[in-house]
Amino acid sequence: MHTWIEKQRNIIDFTLSSLSRRKGKNIALLLVYTLLVFLLASVMFFTYALKREAALTLRDAPEIVVQRMAQGRHEPIPRKYLEVLKKIKGVNSVRGRLWGYYFDSVIGANYTIMAPEDFPYAEGDITIGSGVSRARLVDQDDTIPLHTYDGTSIPFHVREVFSSESELVSSDLLLVSEADYRKLFGTSKDLFTDITLKVRNAKEISTVAEKIVMLLPDTRPITKREILRTYESIFDWRSGIMVAILTGAVLAFIIVSWDKASGLSVDEKKEIGILKAVGWEISDILLMKFWEGAVISLSSFLTGILLAYVHVFFTPAILFKPVLKGWSVLYPEFRLVPFIDPYQIATLFFLTVVPYTVATIVPSWHAAIIDPDSVMRS
C-alpha cells in the first residue's frame, strides 16, 4: 500500500512539474475553468435558495384567489360575488382583497398598495416597506404624500416601517385603511381587487376551484399549489437568465474539453515519447495524464464552488444584482437563507470534473501507444 501511495505521489510530483513548465497556458485554463464552475454554481445556489425560500414563505399564501376576467384582463370583482362564493360547500371564509399598484412620479418607482381588512391604524396613517422608506428617505413618524386618482395630494403619516428582514415580501408594500384606499383610486365600495377563500379541507381545493368556475364563469381561481408552482417554474433551467448563463458556460466548457480531447500539443507528445523511451509504461503515462486532468478540474471545481457560495450568500449575489434590478427604481435588499442542495453539487461535479479528466486521458492514450521514436520526431 505504501509503495502504491509513494508511486502516486511521485507521478503527481512529476505531473505538477510538467504543468508548471506550461505555466501560462495552465493558469489561464485554471482561471477559465474556475470561472465556469463559479458561474454555474452561483446560478444554481441562487435559484435553489430562492425557490426554497419562496416555498417556505408562501406556504401560508391564500388557498384560493379568485380574479374576475373581462376583455382578457384582470378586472375588479363585485362585492356580490362574495355571497355566491360563501355558499360553496367546503368554503371556510371569503374575503375581498383591496390591492393595486401606485406609480410614484417623484422617484419613478412602482409600489404595491394594500388595504388589509384589519389595518391597525386610523385613516391618514400608513405602513411602508423598508424599500419604500429607503427610496423616499422617509421613516417612522414622517409624512409621505400620495396622489389620488383625481390629482389631489393626501399626506400620510408613517406609523410603521416593515423590518428589513422582511424585504423579500414587503419591500415595496404600502398599507393603508380601506377608506384611504378607495379615496386614492376612486374604487367603488362594491368592488374589490380579488377575493381570497379558505377551504376547510385542503383536499377539496381543486373541487372548490371547479365549482367557482361553474358558478362564476367570468372568474379565474388561482390555487395555492399554483402559486407555489409558479416559483418552482419561473427560475427553471429554461428561464431566460438560466439559459443564457448555462448555454455560454456549457459551450465554453465544451470548447475547453474539445481542445483537450482533440489532441496533444507537439511538446506534450514529445514529453510522452521521452517518458516511454526512458522506460515509463503506458499505464504510468495514462496515470500521469489522469492526475493532470484531475488536478486542474478538481482544483477549479472546489475553488469555483467556494467562490460561488461566498458570492451568493455573503456578498449577496452582487454580480446578478444589475441583471435582477432591471429598470426597477425600488429593489429589495434581501439576503437569501443559504439552502444548498448536495445533489446539485454532485451533478455539477459529474458534469465538469469527469468529462474533463476523461478528455485529458483519451488523446494521451493515442500518443502513448505509438512508437516513442516516431512521436519524438513528429
Binding site: L16, Y231, S233
Partner: protein
C-alpha cells in the same frame, strides 16, 4: 516540501471549506428560521401571493397572478420590453386556468 504535498494541502483545505459551507448553511437555516416564520406570518395575515423580486412591471411583481398575455396587452403589437420579463419563465404549469390566446 514536495509539490504533491502542496496540492493535497490545497485540496484538503478546499474540501474543509466546502464542509464548512454546508455547516454554515445549516447554521444559518436554524438561526434565520424565526425570520422565515415572520415572513410567513406576514404572508398569512396580509394574504400575500408573491415575493417582491421585480418591481418594474406588474406581471413580474406578481407572476403567480399575471396573465400570459400581460406583457403584450398594453397596446396592439405591444412587445415585452421590461428586463425582468426576459429573466423569468412564463408560468406555463398553471396554463389550464388561463384564457386561451388563439
Amino acid at each position: 516540501m514536495r509539490k504533491s504535498s502542496f496540492l493535497f494541502v490545497y485540496l484538503a483545505a478546499c474540501s474543509l471549506l466546502l464542509a464548512a459551507a454546508f455547516a454554515h448553511a445549516q447554521y444559518q437555516q436554524n438561526r434565520r428560521s424565526p425570520e422565515l416564520r415572520e415572513n410567513g406570518e406576514l404572508v398569512r395575515t396580509l394574504e400575500l401571493t408573491d415575493l417582491c423580486l421585480f418591481t418594474e412591471a406588474r406581471y413580474t411583481r406578481h407572476p403567480s397572478l399575471a396573465d400570459f398575455d400581460a406583457p403584450f396587452q398594453d397596446h396592439p403589437c405591444s412587445l415585452e420590453h421590461f428586463p425582468s420579463g426576459s429573466l423569468i419563465m412564463p408560468n406555463w404549469r398553471n396554463a389550464e386556468n388561463h384564457a386561451h390566446m388563439d
